[in-house]
């Protein structure tokens, strides 16, 4: 096994549909202050935080160089600061690289997004596409995901009943997570009767609009004990980008996720993920992605997703006990929210949803529609 990086502190605000009463700067401050207090870390340029990595999105913040709106409140002035504009999980991978390279030994890792600020999330994700070939068609992350949903569901025997089961389970799990967005409990029939947004994706199949912020303190193995007694270790990270145009990709192949996972497994020395990893947190923007990504990380046979749901696979493999992205996290922050769940579980602080002594966890983030880019981290106690 290679070197590892410690997560010594993690703080977050509660996921909410519309935190209109607070600026995202304030949300970040609510995360930073307890980190400083609990760990005693400072911004001292010799012994403290010399580098801050932030995660945010320009279009969702309606401000280019979106980090410039928050660097002051996260202590990023007068020191190193870099922004991750992909899914936040890659910010963790980047922080890990900073530390393992020896460039820094203590890194503050923060992220925010208020989806509620935008008039339409879909209008925003439409801007992720080029102005010539895709954007004029009105495509966005939701309608693009619908292509993948149709193709994958057909191939993997996943039907409307399975999706309903996934949504119901997500909400039940999230109800035990004090940081999760508070959603109405729904029945399978309610899911199946919710209107189609983009067939075969129904309204309740897609994650709801959410605001959230988080912060974590990372450091080298050598310095971990200065900040906490029981750190969670990041032992592996991998990412992979697939082709841009939907037509250039094999959209049911899970190519990028398989690649990202195998790189993370190899770094963390994981040979058999199903056996060695105790919990999996997958960024499921839409219900069909839960079984699909589970196939991608290698805990379900290829195209056996429907059967896996029927056989209670998500509970057996302990997938998305947090409720998942499907219950509500903002765009680009799904990965960090998955890391947060793994962090509580591995430290034994997951309350009602606590697993019995988990040792190893996988957290996953996805950027773009239909899984164009995936990031995977392996976390250990």
């Amino acid at each position: 096994m290679g070197k590892r990086v410690a997560i010594c502190a993690l703080e977050q605000v509660k996921n909410e549909p519309d935190i209109w009463y607070q600026r995202f700067q304030g949300m970040l401050l609510d995360c930073l202050e307890p980190i400083l207090e609990k760990t005693g870390v400072t911004f001292d340029m010799d012994k403290g935080i010399r580098n801050v990595i932030t995660c945010s999105d320009d279009v969702f913040d309606a401000r280019t160089i979106s980090d410039s709106g928050i660097t002051d409140v996260v202590g990023a002035h007068f020191r190193g600061e870099e922004k991750m504009a992909q899914d936040s999980i890659n910010g963790l991978g980047y922080a890990m690289a900073c530390i393992l390279s020896g460039h820094d030994d203590v890194v503050l890792y923060m992220g925010h997004c208020k989806e509620s600020q935008a008039e339409s999330r879909y209008m925003n994700t439409n801007l992720a596409y080029d102005p010539f070939y895709m954007r004029p068609l009105g495509i966005d992350f939701l309608s693009a995901n619908a292509f993948q949903a149709r193709a994958y569901m057909e191939k993997a025997g996943v039907d409307d009943d399975h999706l309903a089961e996934i949504v119901v389970r997500s909400r039940k799990n999230a109800a035990k997570n004090p940081y999760a967005r508070e959603n109405e409990m729904v029945s399978g029939d309610q899911v199946k009767n919710s209107p189609y947004l983009a067939d075969p994706i129904r309204e309740l199949h897609f994650y709801p609009m959410t605001d959230w912020a988080f912060g974590m303190l990372l450091c080298s193995e050598e310095r971990a004990k200065e900040f906490c007694d029981n750190p969670v270790w990041v032992t592996g990270y991998g990412s992979c980008m697939d082709s841009y145009f939907p037509g250039d990709r094999d959209i049911i192949s899970n190519f990028a996720l398989k690649n990202a996972a195998s790189r993370a497994y190899s770094m963390a020395g994981v040979k058999n993920p199903q056996k060695e990893i105790d919990l999996f947190e997958l960024t499921d923007q839409s219900a069909y992605q839960l079984p699909m990504w589970a196939e991608g990380v290698g805990i379900v046979d290829e195209f056996a997703g429907g059967k896996w749901i029927e056989e209670g696979g998500p509970d057996k493999s302990q997938v998305n006990l947090s409720g998942g992205m499907l219950n509500g996290n903002p765009v680009m922050l799904g990965g960090a929210a998955r890391v947060a769940e793994a962090w509580y579980q591995l430290r034994g602080e997951a309350g009602d949803r606590q697993l019995k002594k988990p040792k190893k966890a996988l957290a996953h983030g996805v950027t773009g529609a239909m899984g164009q880019h995936h990031g995977v981290v392996i976390l250990e106690k």
Partner: protein, 470 residues
């Protein structure tokens, strides 16, 4: 209002940023070709041999510069995936619901994303053929194709040679003596019948099966053009169910005759499952077609899975001696020539018994039917046994269900008989592809004539052969 926030302020903002995007040299060529020539261009990587659309300068897999390797694609393609966008938003170019699809253009290797219109969202299917509809005004983007619409396939019929078409060029010289001989006399000209609908072939199997009178008329005209001189009809209701309704059958019959007066229309006296004898014969006697089917024996007539032997629909097709007698008499008295349907030797013998009454006028016309679940499967030797059991002054044609169709009609044509094809019996071409319609099966039947040196009968020649007095 949350407590303590009474005097707080929310500022409404907007990002509205005009931009000028350079389309790139590759993109510019693509977009201007769309605009000026209404052509969709792809670029080919010569290393992996893939043709990409939208175009790009470099193959991302081979890292090869492909900017100059333009390939002209067709404006048609196949839908490989789609969604119906049902949520309204400002970035949508169309009113919702609209269909976003991945379309594999003919000549490309990667499907492109675009919009489908001109079809109800619930009718869009993977595999559907679509064609580009170009925008009237330049948009500088992919929207120079305004949308794709379902292909209105141009139906081209291989036209019968005697009508000056490019179809079967058949031997018109003297027939050798050996080919003339036999009992009954071999017909020199071959009558091709197109059975357009039957009672069980539905649009969910093949879209070109007609339900509406207009559809029957159009398909019958195509069949005539291809070489058929007679069409056999089971009229359908709007929902596709076979009907005994006189008005509907008459409308269907008349629509065919109006569009193609030359054609012989042969109406079914079987109609469909569960019809009473009265419902079956009344329509014939009222409409008085030139010919009608006359069935010869009560038999199983079921729908089964031929691979597993599983029975889906079990049905007894009732044709008692009395019905054979009464239907036959009614037809002959009204100048309707019966086409005697023979499902096995027993049926032929039944007809022979009733024929003793002197009901039937010469020449007699028989149809050997193969492959019905409840009847006999096609066998060449059995075919000859039936043929040899026919009375003097008899013509025979044949039809076969599914895979029996082409072997049976080959045998008939070869042995001096006539041929029936059509979607009632079979929906696939000999190569296994779905036929474009009954007319395409007629085209294949004309090829048999071509090979065997047989001439194709015109409707008037067919009338003369079968003894139909116009």
């Amino acid at each position: 209002m949350k407590e303590g926030f009474e005097d707080s302020y929310i500022v409404e903002g907007k990002m509205a940023l005009p931009y000028s995007y350079f389309a790139g040299r590759v993109g510019s060529t693509f977009l201007t070709t769309l605009r000026d020539k209404k052509k969709i261009m792809g670029v080919k990587c010569n290393t992996c041999n893939k043709v990409f659309v939208p175009p790009r300068q470099t193959c991302e897999r081979c890292m090869e510069d492909i900017r100059d390797n333009w390939v002209e694609l067709k404006n048609t393609g196949t839908v490989t995936n789609f969604t119906v966008v049902r949520y309204e938003d400002k970035h949508m170019p169309k009113k919702v619901p609209y269909v976003l699809a991945m379309i594999h253009l003919d000549g490309a290797d990667t499907p492109m994303t675009h919009i489908i219109e001109g079809v109800k969202p619930e009718k869009v299917k993977i595999g559907m053929r679509v064609e580009a509809v170009f925008a009237d005004e330049d948009t500088n983007t992919i929207m120079n194709i305004d949308h794709f619409k379902p292909v209105t396939e141009k139906i081209e019929v291989r036209e019968r040679a005697d009508a000056g078409g490019t179809g079967a060029k058949t031997y018109t010289g003297e027939q050798p003596e050996t080919k003339k001989g036999g009992k009954p006399a071999m017909s020199k000209k071959v009558i091709i019948t197109a059975a357009l609908s039957g009672a069980a072939t539905m649009k969910n199997q093949i879209d070109s099966v007609p339900y509406e009178p207009k559809e029957f008329a159009e398909e019958a005209a195509r069949c005539y053009k291809a070489g058929a001189s007679m069409v056999h009809i089971h009229a359908r209701e709007e929902n596709g169910m076979p009907t005994h309704d006189v008005a509907r059958i008459k409308a269907t019959h008349d629509a065919i005759k109006e569009k193609t007066p030359e054609l012989i229309v042969n109406l079914s006296s079987a109609v469909g499952m569960g019809k009473t004898p009265e419902q079956r014969i009344t329509q014939i006697l009222e409409i008085k077609p030139e010919m009608a089917s006359l069935n010869t024996n009560t038999m199983n007539f079921s729908i089964v899975d031929r691979k597993t032997g599983k029975i889906f629909i079990d049905f007894i097709f009732e044709n008692t001696f009395t019905m054979l007698q009464d239907f036959g008499k009614g037809m002959e008295e009204n100048g309707i020539k019966p086409e005697v349907e023979v499902y096995d030797m027993g049926g032929l013998d039944n007809w022979k018994i009733v024929a003793k009454q002197g009901i039937f006028s010469k020449p007699y016309n028989f149809n050997f039917v193969w492959g019905v679940a409840g009847g006999m499967a096609f066998r060449p030797d059995l075919f000859m046994v039936l043929k040899n059991a026919l009375p003097e002054d008899a013509n025979y044609t044949t039809c076969g269900v599914g895979l029996d169709e082409f072997p049976a009609i080959n045998m008939s044509c070869l042995s001096g008989g006539h041929m029936r094809v059509g979607l009632e019996d079979n929906i696939k071409l000999p190569n296994g592809e779905l036929a474009k319609g009954s007319f395409e099966l007629v085209e294949w039947a004309t090829r048999i004539c071509e090979i065997l040196g047989k001439e194709i009968a015109t409707p008037d020649e067919a009338r003369e052969i079968m003894g139909i007095k116009k």
